[in-house]
């Protein structure tokens, strides 16, 4: 392995990164996920941690650009140079740049489909009925966040089953953010166009008209920077149809089966055997995960290795079951030492049933910056390739329980108090204790009148043991128990109408049987993070309701 001159390295372990822009080739969530896993390649074997931030200056700024993109080291169009990164330091140092003239995929060129439906693989069903109307494509109707969605059955009104659509779908064949797709052919400057074009634009962006005559209507939208639809098709514009049957077998993705040249193809009807109709798919592209893991090695201080199988070898090659080469591990541990963390880290649990129905009417009013939106991101990690790890159930059992809950209280300080509580939260300087369905509210060292029943708060006895209380907004506390949570208005000492709600509704991706839930390293109005603990693990969730870390309570939180 090689490091840069003078062993350039970061002087702190808790690094931040920020993705400044995204390639249109992949869904944003897929790119975020690939970058997260690419950093995890290095954090798994060192004490380094990586946290994504969404504004301001991060240690590692990540961007997509083509040709000259502002750093004096121009890219070179498709193929050739794929990306580059700068050694650790201030400013541009540590940053990683990716050539957006490449076709970015996960190396298999088939990712776009994963978001067309839900994480359980249920695909969009067209047409579908929503509020009595028929939709033959994705829509943003009924959602405040403008995300395109679809029903995964023919009748959303009846079944309440839905999934998301890649925002690019609106752009796959081109269109605008109002959902108006490209119209082909269209007339521009008197000429007829049957594909997107850059004509008439100085910035090189590919565009199309969204009516048959741009000259007349001036209506237009943008296109991905590929001529064929991202998921493939033929030059008549017939897109791939999935699944399709070929030689009696069903294919739900492009394949090179049956071709000598290894090119990826698809049928443009559901049955190639009977119809013989087909088209090409974009090439496999370059795995953004593999290239990112390599570039992030540079961002951390590693130079190119001469070991062909090493990640830090300068040439790209697609590796199906990726893992770090000992040469890479020696190099990064030479700079940062070993990690104390466990190997492998536990993944977030896979979803077991459909996401909950869309709330179509507005929940109780809350201060807008505190409102609890419908989950805006795909709740679960996507089907991934190399680099995902899993822990078997047995492994989990073996690790003894941590000691974070129930929470012991110092008897000398408060003679009349119970010794253990289910949950404690502090609101405006007052401590509130919850135990076995009862709650002691108020400033505890003056009142020992004994606990009022939790029913007084409007929480039914069936709630059982509370696993956590989180302050959320001024004078509001979320109380968690089992698969539900309540929102308590502390002033009126009652839970708000419309509760309990299903925890999974908002806090997607965390265990529903967490033993302890708390806000850690932050106040309710600062970017603290929610922690849901179960067994030896904790799931950390950002204020934007994204699980950004799963780890061991003992090592990561208690620093044992």
């Amino acid at each position: 392995f090689l490091t840069f001159e003078r062993d350039l390295k970061w002087d702190h372990m808790d690094l931040t990164y920020r993705v400044i822009n995204y390639s249109p080739d992949l869904d944003r969530a897929v790119i975020d996920d690939a970058f997260r896993r690419a950093f995890q390649v290095w954090s798994d074997v060192t004490p380094l941690t990586f946290t994504q931030i969404y504004s301001g200056e991060a240690d590692i700024m990540i961007m997509f650009g083509s040709q000259e993109h502002g750093d004096g080291y121009p890219f070179d169009g498709k193929d050739g140079l794929l990306a580059h990164a700068f050694p650790p330091g201030q400013g541009i140092q540590g940053d990683a740049h990716f050539d957006d003239d490449e076709f970015w995929t996960l190396g298999t060129g088939l990712v776009v489909k994963t978001r067309h439906g839900n994480a359980n693989g249920a695909e969009c069903h067209f047409p579908f009925i929503f509020e009595g109307r028929s939709y033959s494509r994705c829509t943003t109707e009924g959602r405040k966040d403008g995300l395109p969605w679809c029903a995964t059955t023919s009748n959303y009104d009846r079944d309440k089953k839905y999934g998301f659509c890649p925002s690019e779908l609106l752009y796959t064949n081109g269109g605008n953010s109002d959902g108006a797709p490209c119209v082909f052919p269209f007339v521009f400057d008197g000429a007829s166009y049957d594909t997107c074009t850059t004509d008439g634009r100085s910035d090189g962006y590919r565009w199309c008209a969204t009516t048959s005559s741009f000259d007349q209507d001036k209506k237009y939208g943008f296109c991905p920077n590929r001529d064929t639809a991202v998921i493939g098709g033929n030059s008549q514009g017939d897109p791939c149809v999935f699944p399709f049957t070929f030689l009696g077998q069903s294919y739900s993705a492009c394949t090179s089966q049956g071709r000598q040249d290894g090119k990826l193809w698809c049928a443009t009807t559901s049955n190639y055997d009977t119809d013989k109709k087909w088209g090409f798919c974009p090439d496999r592209g370059y795995s953004i995960f593999l290239v990112a893991a390599h570039e992030f090695g540079h961002s951390l201080g590693l130079d190119h290795s001469s070991v062909r199988e090493a990640l830090m070898y300068p040439m790209y090659s697609y590796i199906q079951d990726f893992h770090l080469h000992p040469d890479d591990v020696q190099g990064i541990q030479y700079l940062y030492g070993r990690g104390s963390g466990p190997k492998p880290t536990a993944p977030a649990p896979a979803p077991t049933e459909e996401p909950q129905p869309l709330p179509t009417e507005e929940p109780q009013p809350m201060p807008t910056e505190e409102s609890l939106p419908v989950p805006t991101e795909e709740p679960q990690p996507l089907p991934t390739e190399a680099g995902s790890t899993s822990t078997t159930e047995e492994e989990e059992e073996e690790t003894p329980e941590p000691t974070v809950g129930p929470i012991p209280v110092d008897p000398s300080r408060d003679a009349c108090m119970e010794k253990n509580f289910d949950a404690i939260t502090e609101i405006n300087g007052e401590l509130y204790f919850f135990k076995d369905g009862s709650a002691v509210l108020g400033v505890f060292w003056e009142e020992c009148a004994g606990p009022p029943g939790i029913e007084k708060l409007g929480i039914g006895k069936e709630a059982g043991r509370l696993s956590g209380a989180l302050q959320r907004g001024r004078g509001k506390v979320l109380l968690f128990s089992g698969e539900n949570y309540w929102r308590l208005d502390v002033k009126v000492q009652r839970v708000d109408k419309g509760y309990p709600r299903a925890t999974d509704d908002i806090f997607t991706g965390v265990p529903l049987d967490a033993r302890n839930v708390f806000l850690y390293q932050g106040e309710w109005n600062l970017a603290g993070k929610y922690h849901f603990c179960r067994g030896s693990f904790y799931w950390r969730m950002t204020p934007r309701y994204q699980v950004d870390r799963v780890g061991y309570v003992k090592y990561d939180i208690l620093q044992c």
């Binding site: 169009g77 990306a83 190119h304 300068p314």
Partner: protein
Amino acid sequence: FPGDLISTLPDLQLAERYLQRFGYITEAEAKIGGRHMSLGKALLKMQKQLGLEETGELDAATLEAMRAPRCGVPDVGT
């Protein structure tokens, strides 16, 4: 189509550009050294660094490596 341009360059020009871009020939060397002398030495350096057969010649495997997609960070130097 820019990607193709590179591949249609004459091999020697492609090699010179590649060796300079990735640090196997410094700009000063390129200016003052004889073309073939500096190329041979630089080719040997590149073949060693990339685990290719060290022939010092612009052979097929070396040319193929020069056309392969790769990282833009230079292999030698800062």
